[in-house]
């Protein structure tokens, strides 16, 4: 295996990017990472992006966003109709094969023109489920209730996750929801006093859908050391998928997350026996973070309380950025978790982190990436 590192990151995220097209708001993001590594589009061995036509309401919408890259002379390029974390995985494989030494990865989502809750119904079973148009919040509510009823977690646990997100997001310039916007809801107790808008989910149990984009540069070995002062090495990465049929799955579990974590080198909440300094989860519903903690063995082995408060590790152990409850960029939030973790390590706020991405309904597909500073 080659050593491959994240060497540059850039992100943008706001409630509604309604003065810019995807191209217009991605030009500064992509230009920023190109500037950080002093490379032009043609200098990258590979370029891979992630986006969804259903958000843009336009077929093959990704070809427009290539305008933001600079594709002349022609570049080596690919695209996935997936979160950008999977675009990064494709690029990582290409670097592992030794074909190239550098890759530019970006992804973006502009959901403000439509209604993501409803658009996501189109990813479900087209014969039995999509014709009923269940919105995403309702499906999450059905899964959360099973977890509550079975005693796997409590409403207080969920509220604690939401409250911690608000507290941690306070200083995150990309966060749309934080203690600044909800100063009276930074405790589980206060959140529990709020109404259940999609019972048993409260508004703060559900991520707020926003517009945004992210770009990342990865490089192999000496090239990584040449391009930045402190490469953030990808020590383990894997993604796994469960069956799509939500009626045939145990919705209180995410076996694919557990399997991906094991393949990425995680065991008993540790990476190769070493403790993590922090985690960035992509959990668009509070209860999903509790399921992920359970699947990664973090509740048991690190002495975390099931309320997700971080236990002895403090608030900053889980989602120090506030996570996606503070701002959810469909198609971008997964790659943003990797970028957030990488930036934090670069800034010396930790040496070892786990970044997670999810895709599909109700934690169907999961990617786990373990990052370490130089």
């Amino acid at each position: 295996m080659r050593d491959i590192a994240i060497v540059a990151t850039s992100m943008v995220q706001t409630l509604a990017m309604d003065t810019d097209t995807e191209v217009e708001f991605m030009v500064p993001v992509i230009s920023d990472v190109k500037r950080q590594v002093s490379m032009e589009a043609q200098d990258f061995g590979f370029i891979c992006s992630g986006s969804s036509d259903f958000l843009a309401g336009q077929a093959f919408s990704f070809v427009h966003t290539l305008d933001a890259v600079g594709a002349v002379p022609p570049i080596s390029e690919s695209h996935v109709e997936m979160d950008g974390a999977w675009a990064l995985y494709e690029a990582w494989v290409k670097l592992q094969l030794g074909e190239v030494d550098t890759a530019l990865i970006y992804s973006y989502g502009k959901t403000s023109p439509g209604s993501l809750r409803d658009v996501l119904a189109t990813q479900l079973d087209p014969y039995y489920v999509t014709p009923l148009w269940p919105d995403a919040h309702s499906l999450a509510a059905l899964a959360a209730r099973i977890g509550l009823e079975s005693g796997q977690f409590t409403a207080t646990d969920m509220a604690a996750v939401a409250a911690r997100s608000l507290r941690n997001a306070t200083d995150n310039p990309l966060a749309v929801r934080s203690a600044k916007t909800h100063p009276n809801l930074t405790t589980a107790e206060n959140i529990l006093a709020e109404a259940e808008v999609v019972p048993p989910l409260r508004e703060l149990d559900c991520a707020i859908d926003v517009d945004g984009g992210v770009a990342v540069v990865i490089a192999a070995e000496d090239e990584a050391r040449r391009l930045c002062d402190r490469p953030v090495w990808i020590r383990g990465i894997d993604h796994r998928i469960d069956a799509q049929n939500i009626g045939a799955r145990d919705l209180t579990r995410s076996e694919s997350a557990a399997k991906a974590a094991a393949q990425a080198g995680m065991a008993n909440g540790c990476f190769n026996g070493e403790k993590l300094d922090f985690i960035e989860f992509y959990a668009p519903y509070s209860y999903q973070e509790l399921i992920l903690l359970s699947e990664l063995g973090l509740i048991d082995e690190l002495g975390l309380s099931a309320d997700g408060s971080g236990g002895a590790n403090g608030d900053d152990f889980i989602n120090p950025s506030g996570g996606v409850l503070a701002g959810h960029t469909m198609m971008g939030s997964g790659l943003m978790r990797l970028a957030e973790a990488s930036q934090r390590i670069s800034q010396g706020k930790g040496d070892r982190a786990l970044a997670h991405a999810t895709s599909g309904p109700l934690l169907q597909q999961n990617l786990i990436c373990v990052l370490e500073g130089e």
Binding site: D18, T19, D20, T21, V23, E24, V27, P28, I30, S31, K34, A41, F54, G57, H64, L66, D67, A68, V69, G70, A71, V72, P73, S112, P113, G114, S115, D118, V119, T122, P126, Y127, T130, P131
Partner: protein, 211 residues
């Protein structure tokens, strides 16, 4: 191909229909239409373009890299991934870069008589073309390099829409030379730039209006 390709074993097991539905017409397909609503707000470049277009003006943007002019503007020079912010007002005159005589109608355009001509219109001073109809021109007379001008709708029908220009009609001016028409002039300028022999682009310098 041989017709004797064996059926894959995975598909070979027969489905036994329960008695209750064995002798009725089977459902073979199902209609599951989707419909999604979007509140579409154009970006900065398209806002400027459409607003000007509603005043019968045509805006392009100039590349900060080599001065190439793109219309309609999209806020970026797609060759280099560089933001474009300088607007250029372009005349409603140009030439045909390429064209196609079409024998099938456009849904919703009953006003179009068949056959009609669609063409890539290269405005004077622009480096790329955009699509339009050619009217007041016999199909046999249409040719690459032919000079055309916009025929706008009546002023009371002008809005911020691409439908403002009904079609483009011949001006009768001398043609643009074939090897300078359409994208070929731009391609030549770009090639010169790549060789290091070119100077800052002179968009459509073959056109009278840009000289």
């Amino acid at each position: 191909m041989s017709a004797k390709i064996p059926k894959p074993t995975a598909l070979a097991k027969p489905v036994q229909l329960p008695e209750r539905i064995a002798n009725v017409e089977q459902v073979r397909s199902v209609r599951t239409p989707i419909s999604l609503n979007y509140d579409f707000i154009p970006g900065q470049a398209a806002q400027a373009y459409l607003t000007a277009f509603g005043e019968k003006r045509i805006l392009g943007q100039r590349s900060p890299v080599d001065g190439a002019v793109f219309v309609p503007p999209r806020g970026v020079d797609p060759r280099f991934g560089v933001a474009t912010t300088e607007y250029v007002e372009l005349p409603d005159k140009g030439h045909i870069g390429s064209f196609c005589v079409t024998q099938v109608p456009i849904p919703g355009r009953d006003d179009l008589e068949l056959p009609y001509i669609s063409a890539w219109i290269f405005l004077d001073g622009a480096d790329i073309g955009f699509i339009g109809l050619v009217g007041e021109c016999d199909t046999a007379d249409c040719r690459i390099g032919m000079r055309v001008e916009a025929v706008w709708k009546d002023d009371d029908q002008i809005a911020q829409t691409a439908e403002n220009i009904k079609w483009w009609r011949p001006t009768g001016e001398p043609d643009v030379a074939f090897d300078q028409a359409g994208g070929r002039g731009f391609a030549a300028r770009q090639a010169a730039r790549a060789d290091g022999t070119g100077h800052a682009s002179q968009p459509n310098s073959a056109n009278p209006a840009s000289q």
